[in-house]
């Protein structure tokens, strides 16, 4: 394994800014580093590290979201905190020359989450006036900016029975949000200022790991810990709270997916414990699993001879043994945990996307070439 190929030993999440010129990465600890992509968001080896680092959190940063229009970074962490970072100009004294110089620094604004457990996910709404934070305290916090106190305060929805692991805002309808949790339910809410959000409820057969709306907003897909992806039609009827169970289940032959990406209305990319992204395509009225994007197989290490084995008892290499360790020939050498689109075409369909994994590598994938290559 070539460890020099990876940017970090491991990453937990990352986010591009609006024009893919910069990227914020969390190297699986409590810091967030900001990189300049130098015009190549697909090639992580060309990225250059800037001095900007977001160091306010104490524990693992679980989620980063970079608002494209207003250029604000939202981070949430397992230390029960979330921060909104704005880039501001700062004057500082250059130590070498003694002049006053200016530089851009990220300053955080407090988010009052009113919760007592770790935050698992955070997402800006499409109009970036509001964001949602899902916590392990079974709460989904909808945070709005409080001008008098200059902080963001959360209004918590406590309808879940367990950790809220994922959420997604509707692309066009204002302030409609879907959130899923480890209580096997996906709940939909409409967040208006004064009314209590009333909701939809969808039952699933396992922990909900990710919820994503289609680009058109007329249906959404849910990925479960039980290696299935379910696609539901979205017919929001917020007047009457009722349970819906009319999803199309797609059982996967691979390990479960932890995140989804809607490339187009009829093509979903799933990433997760399988070391490669998988494709799911709409065929007629239902969906089907198409295949893995990366067909590299797990290879077995070369077997040592029996004489060598016998001498190992007496040798210095008693503790070390490379028998049985397979080296993955896939591009990612470990589970993939985050995915972001880098290029879209004129119809707003995703053309290229970048995945980041527990192995610290970023791999870029091209949708049109994947569609040609991937077979059952």
């Amino acid at each position: 394994m070539n460890k020099k190929e990876a940017l970090y030993p491991s990453i937990s999440c990352f986010a591009f800014n609006g024009d893919n010129s910069r990227v914020a990465i969390c190297p699986n600890n409590s810091t967030v580093h900001i990189y300049d992509t130098c015009g190549k968001p697909e090639d992580y080896k060309a990225w250059k590290k800037t001095d900007q680092e977001l160091l306010e959190h104490d524990l693992l940063v679980s989620s980063i979201d970079w608002a494209p229009k207003t250029n604000r970074i939202l981070t949430c962490s397992q230390d029960i905190n979330a921060y909104v970072w704005c880039e501001e100009e700062e004057e500082y004294k250059d130590k070498a020359t003694g002049d006053m110089k200016k530089r851009m620094v990220w300053n955080q604004k407090l988010v009052v989450l009113k919760t007592n457990r770790a935050a698992a996910v955070c997402k800006w709404s499409p109009d970036e006036s509001v964001f949602a934070v899902g916590t392990a305290a079974t709460e989904l916090g909808i945070c709005t900016f409080d001008k008098t106190n200059d902080w963001w305060s959360a209004k918590n929805i406590r309808k879940f029975a367990s950790t809220v692991t994922c959420c997604d805002w509707h692309p066009t309808n204002e302030k409609e949000i879907l959130a899923g949790g480890t209580d096997s339910r996906v709940r939909g809410f409409q967040c208006q200022k004064k009314k209590q959000p009333c909701g939809l409820k969808y039952n699933t057969s396992g922990w909900v790991l990710d919820v994503k709306f289609s680009p058109s907003g007329s249906f959404f897909a849910v990925t479960l810990q039980s290696s299935t992806i379910v696609v539901y039609p979205y017919t929001p009827d917020f007047e009457n709270t009722h349970e819906e169970n009319n999803g199309v289940e797609i059982p996967l032959p691979t390990l479960p997916c932890t995140q989804l990406l809607f490339v187009r209305d009829d093509l979903i990319v799933g990433i997760g414990h399988e070391y490669s992204p998988i494709l799911i395509k709409k065929s007629g009225d239902s969906w089907e699993y198409v295949g893995r994007c990366d067909r590299g197989q797990l290879t077995k290490a070369k077997s040592t001879s029996s004489v060598r084995n016998a001498f190992k008892k007496f040798g210095a290499n008693k503790g070390k043994s490379t028998e049985g360790k397979g080296i993955a020939a896939t591009r990612h050498k470990a589970a993939i945990n985050s995915v972001r689109p880098t290029e879209r075409d004129s119809n707003n369909n995703i053309v290229k996307f970048v995945t980041g994994g527990v192995d610290g590598r970023f791999c870029s994938w091209d949708v049109s070439s994947l569609e040609k290559d991937v077979e059952m």
Binding site: S205, G206, W207, L224, Q225, S226, S227, T228, P251, L252, P253, T254, L255, P256
Partner: protein, 150 residues
């Protein structure tokens, strides 16, 4: 009218017992169906045995249900046969078969009854290996995470 009222008010224990009795009767029916098809139509027998898995949490019922499937599993032991049969199932039936395979591998009731003629782990593993290569790791993940498994 009084009779109707008393019938509706069943305690939860009675309801469970009724459900178990119903499930066991269905298993008997399934057993008879499978026996009829065993000689002639192997795929039909397999599909009939995988039909309608019992949804009660009573272990005894589940083991009886697994025995019905076991009859078909032990009859077809040739690797090519196994592959043909599994390819003839759809994904839902393959998931149910994986659950039954794990249930059959438990063999706890066979040890207590000392009826070892009914248990051959080599054949069960042969079925498991072929099913894994066709259905993938996801079927095992679904067996583990399924709250109401066969």
């Amino acid at each position: 009218e009084k009779k109707k009222k008393t019938l509706n008010i069943m305690s939860s224990v009675e309801k469970k017992e009724a459900a178990i009795a119903e499930a066991q009767q269905k298993i008997e029916e399934r057993k008879a169906k499978v026996k009829n098809l065993l000689g002639s139509d192997a795929l039909g027998a397999l599909k009939a045995s995988l039909e309608d898995p019992p949804k009660v949490s009573d272990l005894d019922t589940k083991r009886k249900s697994a025995e019905v499937v076991g009859e078909v599993l032990y009859k077809n032991t040739d690797k090519d046969d196994i592959e043909k049969l599994i390819n003839g199932l759809n994904t839902k039936e393959q998931d149910i078969l994986m659950q039954y395979l794990y249930r059959s591998m438990e063999a706890a009731h066979i040890i207590t009854n000392n009826d070892w003629k009914q248990y051959n782990s080599a054949i069960l593993f042969r079925w498991h290996a072929t099913l894994l290569s066709i259905a993938g790791v996801g079927s095992i993940v679904r067996t583990i995470s399924n709250k109401k498994s066969a």
